[in-house]
């Protein structure tokens, strides 16, 4: 059975296409677009870490190394689909149209960071592990009941597969044939716990068997494999054939969050060597060079534009009006209860009195 879940690649580490089936779909413009998006999010990620170190941002969850998994999968979505991210999936959210300044606001402890541009169906990041999987199953089921043809994608890590919600979400979705793609990013660690200590099964993809749904283990650093397999799974969902479990095998180079030290639990040499060998951006660069569609000037421009866009986002985040104390009270119920009304009134009088 395990042999059924070998890792799928379309492009290998050296940037060579190894699966001809998809060749005709890989245009120059698609390739460049993917590269541009990955540069944007990588630059964003590095900037966020540096802002955190300067005290201009709170604790932040970096994703460097997982760009292909997030950008590739989110690029396969259609405008009216749903995206359920975790705290690490800002690259997916940004790819799907979340606003950069708002992602930064989220990490600065601002509730406004949970709000997305109008029309975008991006749920606030799930902080408790795996709780978003049943939500996605449910939201997708509602789309199916309304016959819209829209689907949902839900992101989660390898650690999340240990929680009950993972199993419950997959089971419900498969029983009700919800149009949802369960997108796992297997970055091999849940904070400090390596995958060998998380589970005894060799792959995450094989867990699909228990729920009677298709599962694929794909190279999560191969943006083409991620993009096309997600697209297929979404297509299948739209046609009423139910959910798919995708395991994107990837690697995160840095800390779990800016609050921890990866040196305590992860071999840094291994991360460094992966950066030189399997890195998703480097791989696409190699592919483009092999294909003769790489130009240094273009790449420099892409980097420069990403930096400008991010500088703009940082400026916008920092110019955002200060938090409004009313927001503490005003969104708990449609109509505030008397308890909240009284507490608010008393507190507002007090801070007004104190001139705060």
């Amino acid at each position: 059975m395990e042999n059924g879940f070998e890792m799928i690649q379309i492009m290998d580490e050296n940037g060579n296409l190894v699966n001809e089936e998809f060749k005709s779909y890989i245009s120059e413009s698609l390739t460049k677009e993917m590269y541009e998006k990955m540069i944007l999010v990588r630059t964003f990620d590095r900037k966020a870490i540096s802002l955190q170190r300067q005290g201009r941002l709170g604790t932040y969850a970096p994703f460097e190394g997982q760009e292909a998994a997030q950008v590739g999968s989110a690029s396969a979505l259609k405008e009216r689909d749903w995206l359920f991210p975790t705290y690490r999936d800002h690259a997916a959210a940004i790819t799907f149209g979340h606003s950069l300044p708002h992602v930064l606001l989220y990490w600065n402890g601002r509730m406004e960071g949970c709000t997305v541009p109008s029309g975008k169906r991006i749920f606030p990041p799930a902080v408790p592990i795996a709780t978003q999987l049943p939500h996605a199953a449910g939201a997708a089921l509602a789309e199916k009941r309304r016959g819209t043809g829209n689907a949902a994608i839900v992101y989660f890590g390898d650690g999340a597969t240990s929680e009950g919600d993972f199993h419950e979400g997959l089971n419900f979705a498969s029983v009700f044939k919800s149009p949802v793609v369960f997108f796992n990013q297997n970055n091999h660690f849940a904070i400090s716990v390596p995958i060998e200590k998380q589970m005894n099964s060799r792959t995450i993809a094989q867990k699909s068997v228990a729920y009677g749904i298709p599962g694929y283990r794909i190279d999560g650093n191969d943006i083409f494999a991620v993009y096309f397999y997600t697209k297929q799974a979404l297509e299948r969902a739209r046609q009423g054939e139910g959910p798919t479990l995708l395991e994107a095998v990837t690697w995160r180079y840095g800390a779990h969050t800016t609050a921890d030290d990866p040196k305590k639990y992860r071999n840094q040499e291994e991360s460094l060597s992966k950066k030189r060998t399997i890195d998703p951006l480097l791989r696409l660069e190699r592919y483009m060079k092999n294909e003769g569609i790489w130009e240094d000037d273009w790449a420099n421009l892409v980097q420069k534009e990403a930096e400008e866009q991010i500088e703009g986002a940082v400026a916008e985040m920092e110019a955002f009006p200060p938090p409004d104390v009313n927001d503490l009270f005003d969104h708990v119920f449609a109509e505030p209860t008397w308890t909240i009304r009284e507490q608010k009134e008393e507190y507002m009088n007090q801070i007004r009195g104190a001139g705060r």
């Binding site: 929680e163 849940a190 904070i191 400090s192 716990v193 998380q198």
Partner: protein, 331 residues
Amino acid sequence: MEMRVKTNKLTMVQAVTDGLRTMLQKKEEVVLLGEDIGSNGGVFRATEGLMEEFGEERVMDTPLSEAGLMGTAIGMAINGMIPVAEIQFLGFIYPAYEQIATHATRIRMRTMGKYTVPMVIRAPYGAGIRAPEIHSDSAEALFTHMPGMKVVCPSTPYDAKGLLIASIEDPDPVLFLEPLRLYRAGKEEVPEGEYRVEIGKAARRREGSDVTLIAWGAMAAQASKAAEKLEQTGVSCEVIDLRTLYPLDKETIAESVQKTGRAVIVQEAHATGGLANDVMGVINDTSFLYLRAPITRVSGFDVPVPFFSLEEHYLPDTERIIQAVEKVIHY
């Protein structure tokens, strides 16, 4: 002959480690389990070095599943072991709630004492450290409402170690809440080796005659700060740190309120359904005729603990405590 006990200056989180180490050394049955508690030493370093010292069989990194972790701990406890299970943040205990509420707390009663659950659940909790959302919940009332389990909450390094040892030795399940804001707030002399702080006993942190301030966890420290400021304006506050939230120390509360005639209860948790209401009940039952003013509560609001940009507004500060005290003094 005077016995000299060697002490070390420790933070609260170091005192917790020290207490865990002491009990791991003392009893073979004690095992620690939790997420990231092994090679990482816990996200707050509370179990730092313990896996290296006692091995992976005694200090176990578990898969990421609070329900699994809690259920397994219960199973170990009914079968002769003494598990100390770490929940990474109290806000992530909800998946384990079923195991705690429907099993850990009732096994003794359901088996008429044949099976018991002598386990400890350690959970860092509370706001004030600018953590991301959900990491700052104060959900103690969900557990004090649950017969069959004791709930303990130290506010000093000395108490943390002494109460932890007492909790590990307690024959019933104990939820041991560690206030995040106090983990590294200061150091205190902590004796080496074994000592106990009795579960069910509050501490008088400060003597006073005009009003009793009752608090626990990070709010105990906040109440003491307010008391210091009030002292300068001539108001004498007695500060009671509950230390054990279930069962409450009825006597200490009553004795103090009967002396001062006034009570202000300070809690970080939401007002409605919070433990402050139970403390109020105790005062009402024991000391009604001594009161010179209505009992007053200062609480977090009835809103989810907010994102950190609004955290300072959620948390009771000295200003809010002082206002409440002035209200009862001038009633």
